[in-house]
Symmetry: C2
Subunit: 320 residues, 2 copies
DNA sequence: TTGTAGGCGTTATCAC
DNA sequence: GTGATAACGCCTACAA
């Protein structure tokens, strides 16, 4: 017991005793057993983070920020890669409920509104993303519609009149593509520009490769266009590459704007205009919400929806 | 006890009993307590991964591959971000020894040869990186010298005669920059080309920003050059941007090659020639070595040094 | 100020 | 085939 008191810096230990304990610990190369401490305390000091893959630029950026934010609360982060698959996202929830983690930050990509029921758990969970609003847990999201409208408006202000949208498949109104599509439409309507369905370009996956192909095809034999709003910077990087392949000059003939402000976007040629959703703020809020839940037992009475701020970062790809 | 037998699929449980247990579990919403299981078993099923930051392209790629490889062994991965700082790398070692992790994969960036002593631990550790060779633990490394030589040779074969090296500070012969510098020199010597110290360009940090500045300065008023070997793709991305700022055409006037083959490099304009060090193989080996150590107690008798393979990926930036 | 008792939830062992 | 017992290492509560 005295050893425990020394380890945990409890007062009421005589300096001489403390010294003897420390010496013995050093001599025996003693290490506290974290598993035993966890069992006794009922907490592990670790939170789970479930994201599609840490190597994807946006999720990597977010994971880094979340690990840093968690560290400020004295928490470690264990990462599950879900591959954006619904079943893996549900599995992460299950692990968290097994008290492997004190709480879980879950990026819902594969799960959809129909899975809201799975979130009815007596365990701290914060949802990150667009797929689930109004669920039984706290939620941190991007200002998708407003930011997408701002990005589109920026293209209009720079003189674009036939603006394409490069997005994923528009399925159920609650994914990244659909929400940003809504913002794109809003901006066009507000400016009195027609919405040409031929300029809404869906790619099967939000990858550079798919985006590059689509951009090449559009430039080769698609309808005329003078601007592209890409739903992510990854898509925009692919688009820039595809347009270059087709001999289209950016921003001379076509202006391009992305979304996410990943580190690389400032160094592309041309550098990429984009939306900065303040990843650090989102990470900080997500961890703060989770920590608050970890304080009390049981299901929360009120859920918080935190929508981040954003700013436009104007670079060469929408220059004059 | 019978519950435990059911949960762990032990034989010798009568089907009817198993059924009753399963029903009770469902009724009570029973969850195994992983902390208690860890205490009892003396293992946590989690390994630690200490890297500078998951958001850096190379470490993100590696982390993703490691998480996937660990998953194949039924292990979770908890990530510590060290910021490349020696003290944080040592702290990760300490956590692992506290039995928080069953083992640790440690990317040594801040630690150096002088810290070999810290690795003398009775706990599974695999070192990843260049800083520590011949230590008391297993080690997975890139084929730095050979691959750097191959990259430089490629520039020579493409007609370059004044090849710059864009690297970090060359301090102690056992970091990424120094090892790749050695390969660069080897290739120049083998080709009978002079080694011009003015063409060895150190930047204070291996970032896009620092590289872009250095490339601009070189193009503006440095010595003449017709090729650049960049020690990482990140540095190469910065260099491409800096050269573009200075109005230098790539590959027309100057050819550029990087190292790492990060996802983005294929989509840059111009696309980036680079060295692919087979991240998946490195990750797979690192986890396999760690798992092997986790089998036995105590310090290993023999240490394994695994040096990955590599291949050149030729793209536009070194095209004719 | 120090030390004793007990229990966190699980599972290896062994008796029934 | 089932279950009682004990122990993994720690820390809260309380006694000395």
């Amino acid at each position: 017991m005295t050893v425990s008191n020394v380890i945990n810096d409890h007062p009421h230990v005589r300096p001489a005793t403390r010294q003897r304990v420390l010496e013995a610990m050093a001599r025996l190369d003693y290490r506290v057993n974290v598993a035993a401490r966890n069992l006794r305390k009922g907490r592990t000091g670790t939170i789970g983070l479930a994201v599609p893959e840490v190597n994807r630029p946006y999720y990597g950026r977010l994971a880094a920020a979340l690990i840093t934010a968690a560290d400020r609360h004295g928490l470690r982060v264990s990462i599950e890669q879900t591959g954006a698959r619904r079943e893996n996202e549900l599995a992460a929830l299950s692990l968290s409920r097994n008290r492997l983690y004190d709480g879980l930050i879950l990026a819902t990509v594969g799960m959809g509104p129909a899975d809201v029921g799975s979130l009815e758990v007596d365990h701290p969970v914060v949802i990150l993303g667009e797929r689930i609003f109004g669920g039984p847990v706290d939620h941190v999201a991007m200002p998708n519609v407003a930011a997408a409208a701002a990005a589109t408006r920026h293209l209009i202000e720079r003189g674009c009149r036939r603006i394409a949208l490069l997005c994923g498949e528009l399925r159920d109104e609650v994914d990244v593509s659909s929400l940003r599509h809504a913002g794109y439409r809003q901006a066009l309507e507000a400016a009195g520009l027609p919405l040409d369905p031929e300029l809404v370009l869906s790619v099967p996956s939000l990858t550079m490769d798919a985006a590059a192909r689509r951009a090449r095809a559009l430039a080769a034999d698609g309808p005329a266009f003078d601007g592209v709003f890409c739903v992510t910077d990854t898509v925009a990087m692919g688009a820039l590459r595809g347009l270059a392949d087709a001999g289209v000059r950016v921003p001379g003939q076509v202006k391009v704007i992305g979304f996410d402000n990943v580190d690389e976007s400032a160094f592309l040629v041309p550098s990429l205009s984009t939306v900065d959703p303040d990843h650090d703020l989102m990470a900080e809020r997500a961890v703060a919400l989770l920590v608050a839940r970890m304080g009390h037992e049981g299901r929360p009475a009120h859920q918080e929806e935190f929508v981040s701020t954003f700013s436009l970062v104007i670079r060469e790809s929408t220059g004059r």
